[in-house]
Symmetry: C2
Subunit: 251 residues, 2 copies
């Protein structure tokens, strides 16, 4: 049984990539086979694990110029694999617009990869455009990383609306797997207020684990390492390890 | 002489909106007539100054369903005006793709507004798509807010490439007006490294003023106020006041 999870939020810089790579790393460390799929032309997920963006990747996969077997790369972490993105993916937005099944390209492309992995984690760009829609159609669950800030809160309603419309028209199986608070700074009043408001509104959907602001998390990508290899004893690592066990608990 | 500046960076959450609104507020406070144009469907710039997104805004302006005079709203700050965005703007990306002058819609639409303002500041979404291209074509200068983090650094080369291609094909007058470091945390080694690398590479283009990480800047939008009205004595405010004088110095 393969869990396919997309990390989506059109607000920029809320921790989509950081959550996908580090949650993935701890799920892999617990023995699960985990595939990271970078569906953001920025390629931050790819570089977080040292993926080679000059080789065929997700763009070639959805364009049927490469098979599933050719695009999966090993990472330095056991059980953790990656399908890298490339800047060409940015053009896919325009190229796909004319196609009738334009929202299904990613779902169809990763079909052959199901069964080989326990988790397929898809990172998406900061927008509600065609690339993110492909992620929401390919996945069964959407995880919403939410920075504890005002603008991030403002965008939540629009994101929910998009998820509802995808559930209605394109992927009735999609459900909100959870909301993850990121970059939480307990010293600020704003962070408390955002958490209180969201927990009040979404209840049990919100993960108990809160990811604190921790500079080690932002240092790790420059060494192409997930946090469990860069600094497993830091607060950021411990919180993602905790999140991984909470995800496994929810089953 | 109207200065038209676009704030662009496809990396999400780097301080595009925060820089547009607070630089704008201090330019207005110094007596300049300043128009903020929100060209991001998220509408964070609009809400930062209490703009009414239910009234005709930038989407109606580029669609020729409203004239320039109908879409400019007053803000609570003297000399500071705003053209709000709306979620409909997200659809413009798809709608404009077929048009031959698709990158010129914003430039043509704000033409009648030149001359009335000393500065027109355009906020753009976290992507290099059609909306940001419109911003780069409408502007004479692009300001690049740069978070002092690894992923932000990674995206700089792609952004430069896009700017060069716009200069070559669509707007030869466009120049890089400056790079602004944002959310700088002097306690982290990463921040120092990013600053050193960028200053070494870009030299005098980089603004001397560095914007520190300061929670008051992220609190202000929830009160629909720029920082000069929310908390003029905080570090965040002082740094944006300094940036405004540096911008005026560059002339
Ligand atoms: N908990 C954290 N503590 C400190 N820094 C963090 C944390 N999570 C992420 N970061 C840093 O904050 C920045 C934004 O995070 P990230 O790039 O993961 O967000 P994103 O939502 O994927 O951004 P985009 O919208 O551009 O795709 C990055 O530089 C990252 O290293
Ligand atoms: N110097 C700062 N110190 C602390 N917080 C800041 C600072 N600048 C911006 N922020 C906060 O960080 C978040 C990201 O900033 P902002 O939304 O301005 O970036 P952006 O580049 O416009 O994002 P997007 O890519 O989504 O449009 C916001 O919640 C904002 O309030
Ligand atoms: Mg990302
Ligand atoms: Mg913004």
């Amino acid at each position: 049984m393969t869990h396919i999870i997309v990390f989506a939020n059109q607000k920029g810089g809320v921790g989509k990539t950081t959550t996908a790579v580090n949650l993935g790393a701890y799920l892999a460390e617990s023995g699960k086979q985990v595939l990271l799929v970078d569906f953001d032309p920025q390629g931050n997920l790819s570089s977080s694990v040292g993926g080679d963006r000059s080789k065929p990747g997700v763009y070639e996969l959805i364009g049927r110029n490469a098979g599933a077997g050719d695009v999966v790369q090993r990472t330095d972490s056991e059980n953790l694999w990656v399908v890298p993105s490339s800047p060409d993916l940015a053009g896919a937005g325009i190229e796909l617009v004319e196609e009738s099944r334009r929202e299904f390209f990613l779902k169809d492309a990763i079909q052959p990869l199901r069964g080989r992995y326990d988790f397929i984690l898809i990172d998406s760009p900061p927008s509600l455009g065609i690339l993110t829609l492909n992620g929401l159609v390919a996945a069964e669950e959407v995880f919403i990383p939410l920075q504890c800030e005002y603008f991030a809160l403002e965008g939540l309603a629009q994101l929910q609306q998009t998820i509802r419309s995808v559930q209605g028209r394109l992927n009735s199986a999609l459900k909100i797997g959870g909301i993850v608070f990121t970059m939480y700074d307990s010293r600020t009043r704003l962070a408390h207020e955002v958490v209180e408001e969201v927990v009040g509104h979404f209840g049990r959907i919100v993960f108990r684990t809160i990811i604190p602001r921790n500079v080690r998390l932002s240092e790790a990508p420059s060494y192409s390492m997930p946090i469990n290899r860069y600094d497993p004893s830091c607060l950021g690592a411990k919180s993602y390890r905790e999140l991984a066990s909470e995800v496994l608990e929810r089953g």
